[in-house]
C-alpha cells in the first residue's frame, strides 16, 4: 500500500493546482469590476454588447429580453429557467461553490436575498449608483434589497397580499366575503359542511404563507441586527395566527393539496378550493394554469386579525441581482436597470406582472386595468391599497432559505399528527436557532 502513496500524492497535488488555477481566474474578474461604475460606463457596455446569462423564472422577462435586444442589438441575453425558488437557489449555490457556470444576473426572492448577500455571492451595487434609484421604488421592496445599508439588487416585483376567492362557490352556499380571520374560519366550516368535497383553501404547511400571515398579524418573530439575531414565535402576532389556523387544521377544513401542484390548479378551476391568500403576482398564474376559473374569481382585501383594521403583508416578490462571480457586470447592471427600473417595467406590467415601481403603481391606466379573469374587476386598486397597508418593520432571517427548508420537519408535523401548531413553531424556532448558532450568528 505504501507504494501507492507517491502517485496518489501526485494526483492530489495536480488537483490542488487545478483548483488554484480556477481561483486565480475568479479573482481577476472581480478585481476589474470593483470601484465606481458610472452610467456612461454602463451605456458604453450596452452599446459594445456581449453575452449575458440571466437565471430567472419570472414569466414576463421573456418579453423584456425581446424588447431589450431590439434596443441593444449587440447584446445577446441568454434567459435560463433554472427552476423556481429553492430549486434555483440550490443550483445557484452549487454554481457559486464550484466557481463555474455562475450566471451574470439571477432572480432572487426578497426572503433569500440576505442569505446570498451574506455569503458574498452578490455584487454590492454601491459603486453603480443604485442608491439614487431609491425614490423609484415602493419602500417595502426597497428595504428588502438593502442589507446592512448596502443595496444588493433591484426590486423586480412585489407581492402585497389579497384574498382571491371563487365568487360562484361563495354565492352558491350563501357565504359572505370574510372581513376577519374568525369570519374566514366560520366560512370554512359552513362551506365544508355544505359540500364535504369543497374546502375554503388548501394548506399542507407552507413557510411563506405562515410567515406572511404572522407578519400581517403584527408579529415580528425575527429581528436582525448585523450578526445578532433573535427568533421568537411566541409573540402576540404568531399566537394570534396559531389560534385560528390550529382550528382550521384540527377541524380538517384545509384541503390537503400542496400549492403549485396540478391538483391545486384543478381545485381552483373546479371550485373545490374556494379561496387563497397570496401575493398580487398571482393573476398571471390564474390565467395560465387555471383557465377554467375565468370569470368566477374575484379579489378582496385580506381578512383582518382585528375587526376594522387594514393591515396587510407581503408574500413573495423578487429582485434581480448581479452575481459576484459573474462576468460582464456593467452589462448585467444595464440589463437589470432596464428590466426593473427602465422601459422593461411597462413591458412586464403589460404582461400581467405586479411592479415595485411607484411610477406604474400610481399610473391611472394601471389602476384601471380590468381583469377578465376576475369578471372585469379592477383588481390592481385592491393590490395597490394593500401595498400601502403592509405592516412595517418585518425582516427575514439571514438564513431564511435554510430555515424554510426545515419548516415541514417541524411545523409540518402539526398538519399530519397530534403536534400542535404552537409546538411546531417552537420546534422550528429551536432548529433555526441551532443552525444560526452553528453558522456563527449570535442567536437569542
Amino acid at each position: 500500500m505504501r507504494k501507492f502513496l507517491p502517485i496518489a500524492a501526485v494526483a492530489l497535488l495536480s488537483l490542488g493546482l487545478a483548483a488554484c488555477g480556477g481561483g486565480d481566474d475568479s479573482s481577476d474578474s472581480s478585481a476589474s469590476s470593483s470601484g465606481t461604475v458610472s452610467d456612461a460606463d454602463v451605456t458604453a457596455a450596452l452599446e459594445k454588447g456581449g453575452n449575458l446569462t440571466v437565471w430567472a423564472w419570472e414569466p414576463t422577462l421573456k418579453q423584456v429580453v425581446t424588447k431589450f435586444q431590439e434596443k441593444y442589438p449587440n447584446v445577446k441575453v441568454n434567459l435560463v429557467n433554472a427552476g423556481t425558488g429553492n430549486d434555483q437557489y440550490t443550483a445557484l449555490q452549487n454554481a457559486v461553490a464550484a466557481g463555474k457556470g455562475v450566471p451574470d444576473v439571477a432572480q432572487i426572492e426578497y426572503y433569500a436575498l440576505p442569505q446570498f448577500a451574506l455569503g458574498k455571492s452578490l455584487t454590492a451595487l454601491t459603486g453603480y449608483g443604485a442608491e439614487s434609484l431609491k425614490a423609484d421604488f415602493t419602500p417595502g421592496p426597497w428595504s428588502s434589497v438593502t442589507s446592512g445599508g448596502t443595496v444588493y439588487g433591484l426590486p423586480m416585483d412585489s407581492g402585497p397580499m389579497a384574498l382571491f376567492y371563487n365568487k360562484e362557490v361563495f354565492d352558491k352556499y350563501g357565504i359572505a366575503v370574510p372581513k376577519t380571520w374568525d369570519e374566514y374560519l366560520d366560512a370554512a366550516r359552513k362551506l365544508h359542511k355544505a359540500d364535504p368535497k369543497a374546502y375554503i383553501t388548501n394548506d399542507t404547511g407552507d413557510a411563506g404563507l405562515t410567515t406572511s400571515l404572522i407578519w400581517q398579524a403584527g408579529g415580528k418573530p425575527y429581528t436582525v441586527d448585523g450578526t445578532n439575531v433573535t427568533i421568537n414565535f411566541s409573540d402576540p402576532g404568531a399566537t394570534e395566527f396559531a389560534k385560528v389556523w390550529q382550528q382550521l387544521i384540527s377541524e380538517k377544513l384545509l384541503a390537503p393539496i400542496s400549492s403549485w401542484s396540478d391538483q391545486w390548479f384543478q381545485g381552483m378551476a373546479g371550485g373545490t378550493i374556494a379561496s387563497i391568500s397570496t401575493g398580487a403576482w398571482m393573476p398571471a398564474n390564474f390565467t395560465s394554469s387555471a383557465p377554467g376559473g375565468s370569470g368566477k374569481w374575484r379579489v378582496a382585501d385580506l381578512p383582518q386579525w382585528t375587526a376594522g383594521a387594514t393591515a396587510s403583508a407581503e408574500n413573495g416578490g423578487s429582485s434581480l441581482a448581479i452575481m459576484d462571480k459573474g462576468a460582464n457586470k456593467e452589462l448585467a447592471y444595464g440589463f437589470m436597470k432596464y428590466a426593473n427600473d427602465g422601459d422593461g417595467v411597462q413591458v412586464r406590467v403589460d404582461n400581467g406582472a405586479f411592479p415595485a415601481t411607484t411610477k406604474q403603481l400610481n399610473d391611472p391606466a394601471f389602476l384601471n386595468t380590468e381583469f377578465k379573469y376576475f369578471g372585469g374587476q379592477k383588481a390592481n386598486e385592491i393590490f395597490a391599497k394593500s401595498a400601502q397597508n403592509v405592516v412595517t418593520g418585518w425582516s427575514y432571517l439571514p438564513f431564511q432559505v435554510y430555515s424554510n427548508s426545515i419548516f415541514n420537519d417541524t411545523v409540518g408535523k402539526a398538519y399530519v399528527s397530534g403536534t400542535t401548531l404552537t409546538d411546531g413553531l417552537k420546534a422550528w424556532q429551536e432548529q433555526s436557532a441551532k443552525y444560526g448558532t452553528e453558522q456563527g450568528f449570535t442567536v437569542k
Binding site: F4, I7, A8, V10, A11, L12, L15, N86, T90, Q93, N94, A97, Q115, L118, G119, T204, G205, T227, P256, I257, S258, Q263, P398, F399, V401, Y402, S405, I406, N408, D409, G412, K413, Y415, V416, S417, Y435, E438, Q439, G440, F441
Partner: protein
C-alpha cells in the same frame, strides 16, 4: 535482485531505480486513474470533514469536531435508526420472497417459467426514479389508486402518513429488487449438478429435504452476496424517499435517511463539511455491517 555491490556515485543509482520503475510504467496509467477516481474523492471528503465553513466567520480547521457533533446529533441517529429498522424488516422479507421465487422457477414444475422469470425481473429494469413516481401516483390519497380504493370502500387509507410511509417505501424497494435478487439466487441454483438431485431422489428424499439439504447449502454464497448488496442498499436509501418527499413533505423529513440528511445539509444548509462527516461515518457503518454479514455467511461453510 542481484545487484553488484559497487560503490557507485549517486548518479549511477538511476539504473537500479529504472529497473524497479518498469512495473510502474505498466500499472501507472491504471494507478493514475485509480488515484483520481477512487482515492482522491475519499481523501477530499476526509479533508472536508475536518473543516467548518460558517456564514459568519468563514472557513476554519476544527479537527474532529464534526465527528463528535455527528455522534451527538439526534437527527443523524434517528436517520440511522430508520434505515436500520428498514434493514431488519424489509431485507429478510425481500430475500425470502426472492428465494421462494427462485426455488419455484428452479423446481421445473412451474408452467411458463421464462415468462415468470422475465416478469418478476422486469421491475428491476424500470429506473428507480420512474418506479417511485409510479408508486407515488398510486399512493396518492387525493388523486391516485388509493383515493379510488378509499372512495369504493369508504376507508381512509393513507400510505404516505408519517407512521406508515417507511413501510410504503419498503414496498416499493421490495417490488423493485425481488427480481434482481431472484436472478442472483436462481443463477446459483442453476450451477448445482443435477446428479445430486437424482441421487437424492434415489435415496428417497422429499422435495423439501432436497431444498434444505442440497439447494440452500449450495447457494449459501449467493445468499450472502445478495444480503450484502441489500444491506448496502438499505443504508444508502435515498431515491425513493427523496422522490416521494414532494407528495409527503410533512411525513418524510429532511433527515429521513442518512443520505437524504447529507443531501439536505449540503444543498439547503450549505454545510458541506458536516455532510462529508455524515458520509464518512455512514461509509464506516456500512462497511462494518457488510463485513459482519460476510463473516457470518462464510463461517459455517
Amino acid at each position: 535482485m542481484a545487484v553488484p555491490q559497487v560503490a557507485a556515485p549517486p548518479g549511477v543509482r538511476v539504473k537500479r531505480r529504472g529497473r524497479s520503475w518498469k512495473g510502474w510504467q505498466f500499472v501507472g496509467p491504471f494507478m493514475l486513474v485509480f488515484a483520481f477516481v477512487f482515492l482522491a474523492p475519499i481523501a477530499y471528503t476526509i479533508y472536508l470533514s475536518l473543516y467548518r465553513n460558517q456564514l459568519v466567520g468563514g472557513n476554519s480547521f476544527v479537527g474532529l469536531d464534526n465527528y463528535t457533533k455527528a455522534l451527538q446529533d439526534s437527527q443523524f441517529w434517528s436517520a440511522l435508526g430508520r434505515v436500520s429498522l428498514f434493514l431488519v424488516v424489509q431485507v429478510p422479507i425481500m430475500l425470502a420472497l426472492a428465494l421462494i421465487v427462485a426455488l419455484a422457477i428452479d423446481s421445473g414444475r412451474l408452467y411458463g417459467k421464462a415468462f415468470f422469470r422475465v416478469s418478476i425481473f422486469l421491475p428491476y429494469a424500470v429506473p428507480a426514479v420512474v418506479a417511485t413516481l409510479m408508486w407515488g401516483f398510486m399512493y396518492g390519497n387525493q388523486f391516485g389508486l388509493v383515493k379510488n380504493i378509499n372512495d369504493w370502500l369508504g376507508t381512509a387509507l393513507d400510505p404516505l402518513a408519517p407512521n406508515i410511509v417507511l413501510a410504503s417505501i419498503g414496498n416499493i424497494v421490495t417490488w423493485e429488487f425481488i427480481g434482481y435478487n431472484m436472478l442472483i439466487l436462481y443463477s446459483a441454483l442453476a450451477t448445482v449438478p443435477t446428479s445430486l438431485y437424482e441421487s437424492a431422489e434415489i435415496d428417497g428424499a422429499s422435495q423439501m429435504k432436497i431444498i434444505t439439504a442440497i439447494k440452500l447449502p449450495a447457494i449459501r454464497g449467493a445468499i450472502t452476496i445478495a444480503t450484502i448488496f441489500s444491506v448496502i442498499g438499505s443504508f444508502q436509501l435515498f431515491n425513493e424517499p427523496s422522490i416521494l418527499r414532494p407528495l409527503a413533505k410533512n411525513a418524510i423529513t429532511t433527515f429521513f435517511t442518512p443520505n437524504l440528511y447529507a443531501s439536505s445539509l449540503t444543498f439547503a444548509g450549505q454545510q458541506y463539511n458536516y455532510a462529508a462527516t455524515v458520509a464518512i461515518i455512514m461509509a464506516l457503518v456500512t462497511m462494518v455491517i457488510a463485513y459482519i454479514v460476510q463473516l457470518r455467511g462464510s463461517r459455517n461453510r
